[in-house]
């Protein structure tokens, strides 16, 4: 395989999700019981044999750095290649202007120095397990300049923030538009992942005199005539997280064994930082149905269609339904939770009842005691 470089833009944030991630970039948001969202792009790249990955950091770099550390969990603590911390600005996004070119310009030395043929560029708000090696192979076979990865979804699942890819009959990209502006039955949603030649990217960055406010997507879409912009359809599970609702929905979709199977039990593993938690213990009084539980929990209560992160304690008589409980929360006796999201280390005193709305769960911020 030709040498490929990975870049993950971890420096964006969505206004709609502000409540959940005010103190952390979306890339560091806990997901699926033990992961951070950045684990998905990072693992996908490493699984494709990519050994040099640049992480574009937001100004508050600590949550991401705390999670990724030296990159050892992903075997990226290397002498040759490895993990590169790239400074970026925290950008608030609402649609097409992802991958601002000023981020790339700021790190142009890195792009010049790392002698790769191709660059895989990924966002950090998608839950996806994709075989990027196959995409790279297809990119090569097509002799493409750029390959955009999309997922076809029915319109009802297509948020107005999504970026839609328009294709010609040979599958080449003719345009990219905001979801709200088109009216199709089904949408080809850009998954925020693309492959581009390194030389081409460097050329685009130096050619485009137009200001820094443009995004890489703009550069590509303005050149669909001169460049060969190919597309790759991804058929597996894909969720884009940009609001509390999409966050909740994506987590809840893990109650479907098929989704867990596809995301976590296939050939390519999603890797995350391991912690030394003991296994989970279910007591005589435990009553669990249709749930996902991480290690280190002590469960004496009742659980239904819920997701427990590491180290959660659930006391006797507590009933949790349709909820997400992040790590180290303590749920007191006889507590009733339904449609709630507890951020990490929340303590709920005995007897308290919180019932959120089915479509818009109640969110309790971290370290809160109720």
């Amino acid at each position: 395989m030709s040498k490929v470089l990975g870049i993950i833009s971890c420096n964006y944030q969505f206004n709609k999700i502000h409540e959940l991630n005010q103190n952390r970039p979306i890339a560091a948001l806990p997901f699926g019981g033990r992961y951070a969202i950045v684990d998905f792009p990072l693992s996908n790249m490493v699984n494709a044999g990519i050994t040099s990955v640049g992480i574009v950091m937001p100004s508050d770099y600590r949550p991401i750095l705390d999670h990724i550390r030296s990159g050892k969990s992903w075997s990226l603590n290397r002498k040759s290649g490895g993990l590169f911390i790239l400074p970026g600005m925290t950008v608030s996004l609402d649609g097409n202007n992802k991958f601002p070119i000023k981020d790339f310009r700021k790190n142009i030395d890195f792009l010049k120095r790392e002698k790769a043929e191709y660059i895989v560029i990924s966002g950090s708000n998608s839950v996806i397990n994709i075989d990027l090696a196959e995409v790279i192979e297809e990119h090569q076979l097509n002799q493409a300049d750029v390959t955009l990865i999309y997922k076809e979804q029915s319109k009802v699942n297509c948020d107005e923030l999504a970026c839609i890819v328009k294709l010609d009959d040979k599958g080449q990209v003719t345009d990219m538009v905001k979801s709200g502006t088109v009216d199709f039955d089904s949408c080809r949603i850009f998954t925020d992942q693309l492959i581009i030649g390194r030389e081409l990217l460097l050329r685009l960055l130096t050619e485009s005199y137009s200001g820094d406010e443009l995004s890489l997507i703009d550069l590509v879409k303005n050149r669909t005539k001169e460049l060969k912009v190919c597309s790759y359809e991804f058929n597996g599970y894909y969720a884009s997280i940009f609001s509390k609702e999409t966050y909740f929905k994506a987590n809840m979709s893990l109650m479907e064994p098929a989704v867990v199977q596809q995301l976590f039990h296939g050939n390519n593993k999603i890797v995350t930082r391991t912690k030394d938690n003991p296994p989970t213990k279910y007591s005589q009084e435990a009553n669990i149905k249709d749930s996902l539980v991480s290690s280190g929990c002590l469960i004496n209560g009742q659980l239904e269609k819920s997701l427990l992160f590491r180290g959660v304690k659930v006391e006797k008589g507590a009933r949790i339904k349709n909820s997400i409980i992040m790590h180290d929360c303590q749920i007191g006796q006889d507590v009733v939770l339904e449609n709630v999201i507890l951020d990490k280390s929340v303590v709920i005193s005995p007897g308290i009842e919180i019932i959120g709305h089915k479509d818009s769960p109640t969110f309790i911020p971290k370290f809160k005691s109720l």
Binding site: G32, T272, D276, Q284, N287, K289, D290, L292, L308
Partner: protein, 404 residues
């Protein structure tokens, strides 16, 4: 290099033959335990939590399984360092003329004397790789130094009728040992050795050399080294340990010790963050508990998919329990698959094994049950659909040995 105060030598070479086919492909200290651990995690974590930062792990039986598990010790903050510190795996060496196993615990130390000499410690801590306990060796070291002891033996009280199975010590009021008897038929005391020793290296070294030359010696700490030093008038002390300690050397004790974790207040607390047990574990997804599953009084590790009924059991990583199956009072090792309609009771299922649909294991109770009625299914095999296995038996497969 600064002189080291103490290093640990962890004896992990035991074949564990009393664990039957559980140790067919794996060294005893590398056997899974408690839903997530390997037995050796406890000794290594004790070192880590006690600040003992240099550990020699003595292996011989199936060394590859242990070696690939402990690596260079990073999982226990014992990463091998340039100056010989950190963790080193010490296997019997095959010379041009062949190699041989250690002749006994004392011989194992003797053969690795050069390793210890290079490190030049003041004290040597000797521990076993097959005990389940949490202990701060640093407290024992303080006791050892305060007494200016040549040897300190960690001891505990057992019922006097059990004492004959151990090394029994008799002590004066200051806890100085005046008598040591290995497995005496009529014990004089209920204070027994836990097989954890701190020796002054100068004293131990001399004793090892002399013992090696003694042709009558069995090269054993309990039988030879300790009685010899006592005879010579050396200062041996007993350090009282009051915590939980188990030797998991037999199928029964392995089973019971696992099952003790299921108590409401288990005698050993794995959830105590101030003295954690560390392990070298892979990042696995959370466990899935299915719509029709029932899980009570059980311990389950990451990566499991539970769709059946689970009760009073310990389930290690990546186990799949199909809908309609029932698992009770059992210990399931990693990567096991239990098929639809299978029912198992009081069974230890070895790693990577598949139990196909409708097997019934441990249900039929013969009049005279072997091994405490515990059924043992060997690892890396398939129990065909509908097989019935009586309680207390061992289900093995003869033939080709896996790469160890």
């Amino acid at each position: 290099m600064a002189k080291r105060e103490i290093i640990a030598m962890l004896l992990a070479g035991g074949q564990g033959s009393r664990l039957g086919s559980m140790t067919k492909n794996i060294a005893k200290p590398a056997v899974s335990f408690g839903g997530k651990y390997r037995i050796i995690d406890f000794g290594l974590s004790n070192c880590m939590n006690s600040g003992v930062s240099t550990v020699g792990v003595l292996t011989q039986y199936k060394p590859f399984s242990l070696h690939s598990y402990v690596g260079i010790g990073s999982a226990w903050d014992l990463e091998t360092s340039y100056d010989g510190g950190g963790l080193s795996v010490l296997s019997p060496y095959v010379g041009e003329k062949g190699g041989r196993w250690y002749k006994g615990t004392a011989n194992a130390l003797y053969e690795n004397m050069k390793y210890i000499n290079n490190l030049d410690p003041e004290q040597v801590l000797i521990i076993a790789g097959d005990h389940i306990y949490k202990m701060d060796y640093n407290q024992m070291l303080q006791f050892h130094k305060e007494n200016n002891a040549d040897v300190t033996i960690s001891v505990m009280e057992v019922p006097i009728e059990e004492a004959f199975r151990f090394g029994v010590v008799a002590v004066d009021a200051d806890m100085q040992i005046y008598k040591f008897q290995e497995k005496p038929p009529k014990p004089e005391s209920n204070l027994v050795s836990m097989g954890i020793y701190i020796f002054k290296w100068s004293v131990l070294k001399q004793a090892l050399i002399e013992d090696e030359e003694d042709e009558d010696s069995e090269k054993d700490f309990g039988k030879n080294i300790l009685p010899k030093l006592l005879n010579e008038g050396k200062r041996l002390f007993a350090y009282s340990f009051n915590g939980y300690w188990r030797d998991v050397g037999t199928i029964e004790s392995y089973y019971e010790t696992n099952m003790e974790l299921l108590a409401e207040d288990p005698p050993i607390d794995l959830y105590d963050g101030s003295f954690s047990v560390f392990s070298n574990s892979e990042a696995l997804p959370p466990q899935v508990i299915g719509k029709k599953a029932s899980v009570i009084n059980s311990i389950v590790d990451n990566g499991c998919n539970i769709f059946g009924t689970l009760e009073n059991s310990i389930v290690h990583a990546n186990v799949y329990i199909a809908e309609g199956s029932v698992v009770k009072n059992s210990i399931i090792l990693p990567n096991v698959r239990i098929g639809t309609g299978a029912v198992i009771d009081k069974v230890i299922v070895g790693y990577d094994t598949v139990i196909e649909e409708k097997c019934e294991i441990g249900l039929e109770k013969p009049d005279k049950e072997q091994q405490g009625g515990i059924t043992l299914i060997e690892g890396v095999m398939t129990v065909p659909k509908g097989t019935k296995i009586a309680a207390g038996s061992s289900y093995n497969k003869e033939g080709g040995e896996r790469h160890e």
